[in-house]
């Protein structure tokens, strides 16, 4: 009997990659895609596969590494979240023209909702812009199958193929059937062909023409054609679904007793939409409901918009996740079936906050002390939660803390009294997109302080290594790049490293850095302390300082409001602060924050 295993969607994708002989897999972590590469690495270790897996410095570099591998004749894949694809969009557009030699998959995970992203953008639109086919899985099991389908498609037409899972596929678990892993002998063979791999504009025109021909043929490719899920249903109207909306709709149609009544088509390849399918829909049905996330990609390709009920017609919401309860209403309305609306009370949720003992909390507290009226541009990571302390004013995209700091400086520089600017960026984010911006700030002599929140890891996405870690996705030793040396190499003269846990000293250092920046130019402070999720209990014990609340505490709430440690809260009558021993990790930082000195060490 074949083995059935409980798999996260991302693990199923990873399993699909190794089952199909992927030889090079790269990624940069980002929710909801992060677990794909670590799962590939786990399969690689367990099955002793000869392949290259790596976290790259950013998605663009990850893309280029995997793409080069495919033109040597190895199957390869790059995975990322949807906004990561923006970073990799430059090589994407060009690679579409040049094509592939062996199968190449771009796995771009979307986040309708959004649950953990800046935007709800639809990667399928990027596929459309690049003119490459995209497959849209509805479940972990189908995502795994689509890896095989994708490689076959990529090799049949010499074209990069996108797989577009969404959060509800990536972070769903399902029992998945394991197939055998194909042990492929990897024989790289790069054949020089400069007219293609280094094509000049004249040849690009030719490649573009070829690409259009490929797309026409792919729109007739049988293996990825839409499926009619309930052939027994006959009606004047039909429903077209893709991705996880297909999963919700299948279940709903059965529950609502409509399975035998209205034809349900599942689109596997939303772009290019199959030509014959388009004609069939428009010729044979009066009204067509299209349900997809998050943009109306399928809908856009159906010419007769009068027949289509969807995002363009205003029937299907264009913003937010298409939850099953929303789809239930759509289907009922479309099929003229009675629907009793669900009226849900809005319950205020608990907002996320930095962990107890998080070194970023100490850094933010110090920043507000050192430049109380400053402008605080920040960046993407756990430290975005510095918002809670009023120590984060802007969050745009990876690396933007530094570029925006420069923008604020240039905007204000001719004012008589200009604000101090303190930007924060994580270590991994600094490597990803901060370095060019810092060089630019040096060249333009931007007078600001950059605090690099160096917790020695990529924390938000599950503690992946950074280029400074000296370790890879397989835990193999790698070279480490020193952040201070890199900062100095960017041309920064003032660069200090300190531990934010030493709060008083850290505040003094930041004040000096602010002074320096006002007079001279960019100052960098590297706030170095390991992420508390990434150290062993023994390491934690080594610096543990157990604290208690003294009787002097009058419940003023300063610590709860300005420090927001999950372990500190006011009692029910709001007369005293209580310490939650379950949550406290004994970092001891709070000893320095109470204005009445009422947080004291347990041992005198």
């Amino acid at each position: 009997m074949p083995e059935r295993k409980l798999m996260l969607g991302n693990e199923a994708i990873a399993r699909g990659l190794v089952e199909n002989g992927c030889a090079v897999a790269t990624s940069y972590p980002g929710t909801p895609a992060s677990e794909i590469l670590s799962a590939v690495a786990a399969e690689q270790k367990q099955n002793r596969l000869s392949m290259h897996t790596q976290w790259a410095i950013n998605e663009k570099v990850a893309f280029e590494i995997a793409y080069a591998a495919c033109i040597t004749g190895l199957r390869s894949a790059v995975s990322m979240k949807q906004v990561g694809l923006n970073v990799a969009s430059d090589p994407l557009m060009s690679a579409a023209y040049m094509g592939v030699k062996k199968g190449f998959l771009i796995i771009s995970a979307d986040d309708p909702g959004p649950h953990s992203s800046q935007t709800e953008q639809d990667s399928r639109l990027m596929a459309m812009m690049a003119k490459i086919p995209v497959l849209d899985p509805d479940s972990p099991a189908q995502a795994k199958k689509m890896i095989e389908l994708g490689y076959t498609l990529s090799e049949a037409f010499n074209i990069p193929v996108m797989i577009r899972p969404t959060t509800r596929v990536c972070h769903a678990r399902q029992d998945v059937i394991l197939e055998e892993i194909v042990f492929v002998k990897n024989l790289p063979d790069f054949e020089k062909d400069p007219l293609r791999w280094a094509a000049t504009p004249k040849f690009r025109f030719q490649l573009h023409k070829e690409l259009e021909q490929k797309l026409k043929a792919i729109a007739a490719h049988l293996a990825t054609a839409p499926l009619l899920l309930n052939p027994e249903a006959k009606a004047d109207n039909a429903i077209v679904v893709s991705g996880v909306a297909a999963a919700h709709s299948k279940e709903l149609l059965k529950e609502l007793g409509l399975w035998g009544k209205i034809p349900l088509y599942q689109v596997l390849q939303p772009y290019p939409l199959h030509t014959e399918f388009k004609n069939h829909l428009l010729n044979d049905y009066t009204n067509i409901l299209v349900i997809e996330e998050t943009t109306g990609i399928i809908e856009m390709q159906l010419a007769d918009h009068a027949k289509i009920k969807g995002k363009l017609s205003g029937m299907v919401p264009v913003v937010g996740e298409l939850l099953p309860e929303i789809i239930e209403k759509l289907i009922c309305d479309f099929c003229e079936k009675e629907y009793s609306p669900v009226d849900l009370p809005q319950v205020p949720g608990k907002r996320p906050t930095l962990c107890a003992g998080c070194p970023h909390r100490a850094s933010f507290f110090a920043i507000k002390k050192a430049a109380p009226k400053g402008i605080y541009p920040s960046d993407i990571g756990c430290y975005t939660l510095g918002l809670n302390f009023g120590a984060v004013d802007t969050v745009l995209c990876m690396g933007a803390a530094i570029g925006q700091a420069a923008g604020f400086y240039h905007a204000h520089k001719n004012e008589e009294k200009r604000p101090d600017i303190i930007a924060t960026i994580g270590d991994s984010t600094f490597f990803h997109a901060g370095v060019p911006a810092l060089i630019d700030a040096v060249v333009q002599n931007v007078q600001f302080v950059l605090v690099i929140l160096d917790n020695r890891t990529t924390a938000m996405t599950g503690n992946q290594p950074t280029p400074a870690s000296g370790v890879g996705v397989l835990d193999e030793p790698l070279h480490a790049v020193d952040i201070a040396a890199l900062v100095k190499g960017c041309g920064v003269s003032y660069c200090k490293t300190a531990d934010p846990y030493e709060l008083q000293d850290f505040i003094k250092l930041l004040k000096k850095a602010v002074q320096y920046s006002r007079a001279k130019g960019p100052a960098v402070v590297i706030a170095r302390h390991p992420c508390v999720l990434n150290i062993s209990p023994a390491e934690r014990k080594a610096f543990a300082i157990p604290v208690k609340i003294a009787k002097e505490c009058d419940g003023c709430g300063y610590c709860v409001k300005h420090f927001e440690c999950p372990a500190l809260s006011l009692n029910e009558t709001e007369t005293k602060v209580i310490l939650d021993q379950l949550l406290c990790i004994e970092c001891g930082v709070c000893l320095h924050i109470c204005p009445k000195n009422a947080i004291i060490p347990q041992k005198e």
């Binding site: 059935r4 295993k5 409980l6 996260l8 929710t31 909801p32 992060s34 649950h115 953990s116 509805d138 479940s139 509800r168 972070h171 769903a172 678990r173 399902q174 029992d175 996880v244 999963a247 919700h248 299948k250 279940e251 709903l252 939850l323 099953p324 309860e325 239930e328 669900v342 849900l344 009370p345 319950v347 949720g349 608990k350 907002r351 996320p352 906050t353 930095l354 962990c355 756990c382 975005t384 939660l385 938000m460 996405t461 999950p566 021993q581 379950l582």
Partner: protein, 186 residues
């Protein structure tokens, strides 16, 4: 394959409490019983102390998500998580909630409270609230409804998962059984 009715459960709490761990235990138990299973999980920023929610669907389903008023049961590792997610429950469902005071009984549903924080303190294992709650839920709901698994099934899966970590295995079983006994004794 064993024939059972389709079942849908919601497990919720705040980031860091181990909602994902017990969701996964239940899902693996379903596989042990030869049943198809789906879960949907919260990852990313909400895991930093925000409200997290898992959906668990055992039986013949296509979608990983549970709609409002469809869940057969709810395990809330924090009282506020219960408030945020009780709308998933259907009539005649059950909920076990980690709370200091016993909440009022709501019509057509059985809501049972337990002070799991206190029990965790008693067994000197602050991080085991999730397993105490799971044990308690098994004791309470195992009788009340046609649950897809027994506490013995869960213990088997727990032992399989933690086979390589004897210390953790011992404390995890202890926490699970503490919750289970509490549920039986009440």
């Amino acid at each position: 394959m064993q024939q059972i009715q389709n079942q849908q459960y919601v497990i919720s709490g705040v980031g860091g409490q181990g909602v994902l761990f017990i969701t996964r235990l239940l899902a693996e138990t379903a596989i042990l019983k030869g049943l198809p299973v789906f879960t949907a999980e919260t990852h990313g920023m909400a895991q930093r102390g925000g409200i997290v929610l898992s959906h668990l669907k055992v039986g013949n389903f296509y979608s990983p998500l549970i709609r409002p008023f469809q869940a057969d049961g709810l395990i809330a590792l924090k009282a506020e998580a219960f408030e945020a997610h009780k709308h998933y429950l259907k009539p005649d469902s059950w909920a076990v909630v980690n709370k200091k005071q016993v909440p009022r009984q709501t019509k057509n549903s059985s809501f049972i409270a337990i002070d799991a924080n206190h029990l965790a303190q008693k067994i000197d294992n602050f991080r085991s609230i999730n397993l105490i709650m799971l044990g308690f839920a098994m004791a309470k709901a195992g009788n009340a409804s046609n649950l897809f698994c027994t506490s013995q099934d869960l213990e088997i899966v727990l032992s399989q998962r933690l086979a390589n970590n004897k210390n953790f295995h011992h404390t995890a079983l202890k926490a699970f059984n503490t919750g289970f006994s509490e549920g039986r004794n009440e």
